[in-house]
Point group: C2
DNA sequence: CTGAGTAATTGATTTAACTCAAAGATTAGT
DNA sequence: ACTAATCTTTGAGTTAAATCAATTACTCAG
């Protein structure tokens, strides 16, 4: 019943039904082959895994899975972009993560117990994902324990990232939270400034940072007025990251 | 230099210097033997790991490690309680987690690269921890790949927990954040109400939830006035969790 | 290319949460 | 048990951010 509570009618399209063309390989899977979770697999094993997977096309705003649904698959993004979010009891939509091509998500489900998705996942624009059976990957790990190293390392990294995300959210004021978020978008070690692209529409970045879209807009306008960022659609140019950090105290 | 920036003079005691009695086993390590990361180790391997570890006593407020310090060990809490926190550039202390006896922490360092602590760790009261060399545990995993399963499962759980913590922090108002936090402290599936103990002093719970101590106090006073919780020091009795959830909308 | 629907901005107002301050309560250490 | 230090609570005033409302700018599907 938790699965049905959404009043959001946009999401009425079928969910998790792979009606697409049979899988024909060799487009868009280069990134998969170099992903930490897969790059050490022997070709045979990787091919077998891919054979057991399905390629799934998602339209703009199409829901991939719902919070609390049994999780039999995890996902690799071939193209497009997705977002993870939760709905609270009053229906407020809270964005938790965005996912770019080349990334995996819901991969912790491989070892979750019970295996249920912890949030909703939807396409932000038309996207293509590979839908990998949890069971298949797990069997691979069980049969070839040497593969576990990569998975462990990946999971450790994931845990660190989440910890870091949590840290940003303990920053008490909206402006500093936004600044920290922007700094983190810069390729690390950027001193001389650089351009970043918001991975989400502004209203969803706002949601991710626990503030209203209006607040987001005003803070950005203010940073712009102070010459700290230049804004062009979803692209932001940050001329002096150091100064930005100082301003956030 | 980041290591030295704290203006906090409380933390002048030596850090990470194990000057304690040689390790003599068989007190307080029962919990270790049943921890997911260790319970599947063969006795020989576990003993070897314990031999390579040192038991460390920490006094009240004593710092265990600093953010950005090279991480050669991870930890198991034998007794007491610790907290993880970060200091931002203006010296504001932001609490990220609290750790109880029987828990491991900094265990993601086993696979981190570079291995540096992501935050500070200090004892909240006098505590005892086991300081396990990252290298030793890693070698164990490399030599006995069958151990990896437990580690993977543990890491997956950790990632889910952090995700969940993040979710709470995307709740925009302080009252609802606090309510969500309290609900999560209840043993899961508690319907009829129950008592929870705050794992941190109130001012640090406030910091963990990105609010001021005064705000925390006022919200709690208000919940108390509405008969939603009864407060006794750091113990809270929540009579009707369901109603509390409803109130948080 | 066009228009409907969504997203973003800006202004005015209200409210929640912060800050400062001072008095109690609790805790840790002697 | 006592004392000093820290934590907690409460009050009053201020500020940051939310809300409400209206306009403008995008986006994308047809």
């Amino acid at each position: 019943m938790a699965l049905m509570q959404s009043a959001d009618t946009r999401y009425s399209k079928p969910v998790l039904v792979a009606v697409n063309k049979p899988f024909d390989d060799e487009d868009g899977l280069q990134a998969l082959r170099s992903h930490p979770l897969f790059r050490n697999l022997r070709p045979r094993d990787l091919e077998s895994l891919i054979q057991q997977s399905r390629r799934l096309r998602l339209g703009h705003h199409q829901l991939l899975y719902r919070q609390d649904m049994p999780a039999h698959h995890f996902f690799f993004v071939i193209s497009g972009r997705l977002r993870l979010y939760r709905l609270d009891s009053s229906g407020i939509d809270r964005t938790l993560d965005s996912i770019a091509p080349g990334d995996c998500f819901a991969e912790v489900m491989i070892y979750a117990d019970p295996p249920r998705y912890a949030c909703y996942a939807e396409a932000l624009k038309s996207s293509e994902v590979l839908m990998i059976p949890v069971k298949a990957y797990r069997e691979l790990l069980d049969q070839h324990p040497e593969y576990a190293q990569a998975a462990l390392s990946h999971y450790a990294k994931r845990a660190v990232t989440r910890f870091h995300d949590l840290e940003i959210m303990t920053v008490q004021n909206a402006r500093d939270r936004l600044i920290r978020y922007l700094i983190d978008l810069l390729p690390n070690g950027t001193e001389q400034g650089g351009e970043v692209e918001l991975p989400l529409p502004k209203c969803l970045v706002a949601s991710r940072l626990a503030m209203q879209p209006e607040t987001f807009s005003r803070i950005l306008a203010d940073l712009k007025a102070n010459g700290l960022v230049r804004v062009n659609r979803s692209k932001l140019f940050i001329s002096d990251p150091q100064r930005l950090i100082e301003i956030s105290q």
